[in-house]
């Protein structure tokens, strides 16, 4: 189980990295934390011609307070996010999700940009970005563009990132006044989710003004449960029937089955995750 041959570049400047990706014409892959890419290369499932190691690009690191938003460099590692007071204070939903990601040694290397780029349907952070209406910042030789998380995750390991683009940062609006809930159902500690829910809910008085509900581990990608969101909009907190309607509305989702859980099982667990996330952070 050894990786096939590849070329390796560690550019010191962003320009070089973008040139390398453009020159690779799809056969060059960015190497971020490597915690998913390396296993795929060891299995020879991924066989890039060239790896463009982003480690030397200092501008991709770090967490910045940008007023209404928090900007997270794509190469920021999970462990750095977990240690960040800014994340804990301003992006509590992300802070809540981080300990659920894999194991310490993986979190010491794995990066948020790498996870978003891979778009594993069972990964936590794509759902968190959906619930928080985050933005993916992409750059190529042609310039920079900002893609809403809702437009970024397109399908099974498929995103809006072009092969010559790098994710340079994630932008997340500060959580001002939102309630958050998160629940993940996995077989073992650190396993990918059988189902999970990330919620960001605006409440005024006892009334739900807006609920953003993102599910992960249940379909081909992390996705918003729009029917459930509609069912909860305007509901009074503590009104169990609204939550029941929201869970029933999950039926609209195209649930995916695999060896770990069938589609009907995932449909059921998505409802459980939604209820538990709601109970944890909203109700």
């Amino acid at each position: 189980m050894k990786a096939a041959e590849f070329g390796y570049l560690r550019p010191g400047r962003m320009e070089e990295a973008l040139q390398a990706l453009a020159a690779g014409e799809g056969a060059a892959m960015p190497l971020a934390g490597g915690q998913s890419l390396m296993p795929m290369m060891n299995f020879r499932v991924a066989m890039p011609e060239t790896l463009v190691d982003l480690a030397a690009l200092a501008e991709l690191r770090g967490i910045h307070d940008a007023g209404e938003r928090v900007v997270i460099g794509a190469m920021t590692r999970w462990s750095e996010l977990m240690a960040s007071g800014l994340i804990a204070a301003e992006v509590p939903l992300l802070a809540r999700a981080l300990p659920e990601i894999a194991h310490p040694a993986i979190r010491n290397r794995g990066t948020i940009g790498g996870s978003v780029a891979l778009a594993d349907p069972a990964a936590e952070v794509p759902a968190v970005l959906l619930a928080l209406a985050g933005v993916v910042v992409l750059r190529s030789l042609a310039g920079e563009r900002r893609v809403a998380a809702g437009d970024f995750f397109l399908g099974h390991y498929e995103t809006a990132r072009a092969a010559d683009e790098l994710i340079v940062a994630l932008e997340v609006p500060k959580a001002r006044g939102l309630r958050h809930g998160f629940h993940e159902i996995g077989r073992r500690h650190g396993d990918f989710a059988l189902a999970g829910a990330a919620l960001a809910v605006a409440v005024e008085g006892a009334r739900v003004m807006e609920a953003r509900i993102a599910l992960f581990g249940v379909a081909d990608r992390a996705l918003r449960a729009t029917g459930a969101e509609a069912a909860l909009r305007g509901a009074v907190l503590g009104d169990g029937t609204a939550l029941d309607r929201a869970v029933a509305a999950l039926a609209e989702i195209d649930f995916a089955g695999d060896i770990h859980a069938s589609a009907p099982m995932r449909r059921h667990l998505a409802g459980v995750a939604l209820r538990r996330a709601w109970a944890e952070g909203v109700a």
Binding site: K2, A3, E5, F6, L9, G34, M38, N42, H103, N108
Partner: protein, 158 residues
């Protein structure tokens, strides 16, 4: 840059200069190029934890890092932890509790346990189990490992 690459790093306190195939992972480099066979290849896809080592002070999977990514890094393996005495208390506790059987997972287990202890982790059995859950052990049933970590922390287990 294809094929081979130059690598300069520090391993267990010694400077290492080497020419390595870029596709060689850090684990294979340590084991086969440097003869540091204490870190073990259990799965080569980052799940079992038997290759867990310290890079720049934090635990990483040796199989999920290319050797060339260690450029300029400070790498410490179980051999280094033993030589420097950093793992002495854990080793004594592992022995006293029989927290190892075949010993294949042990070097990774030591690295992860050390990170927990040095990070100020308390004698909370559930927290220790959670922290070590990325390190498979197929022999002990884990209990003795948790006991040993608690012993080193020194408090009564919750």
């Amino acid at each position: 840059m294809t094929g081979m690459a130059r690598l300069t790093c520090r391993v267990n306190g010694e400077e290492v200069r080497a020419e390595v195939p870029v596709r060689r992972n850090l684990l294979d480099f340590l084991r086969n190029d440097l003869g540091l066979t204490g870190s073990h290849a259990g799965c080569e896809h980052g799940v079992c934890g038997a290759c867990t080592i310290l890079v720049d002070g934090v635990t990483v999977r040796g199989c999920l890092m290319l050797a060339v990514q260690a450029e300029g890094a400070e790498v410490v393996t179980v051999e280094g932890l033993a030589e420097s005495g950093r793992s002495a208390a854990l080793a004594a506790a592992f022995t006293a509790r029989n927290a190892l059987q075949c010993g294949f997972c042990t070097p990774g287990m030591i690295a992860s346990a050390l990170e927990y202890i040095d990070g100020g982790g308390g004698p909370d059995r559930a927290a220790i189990r959670a922290h070590l859950s990325g390190n498979y052990c197929r022999c002990t049933g884990y209990q003795a490992v948790v006991d040993a970590v608690c012993d080193v922390i020194g408090g009564a287990a919750k």
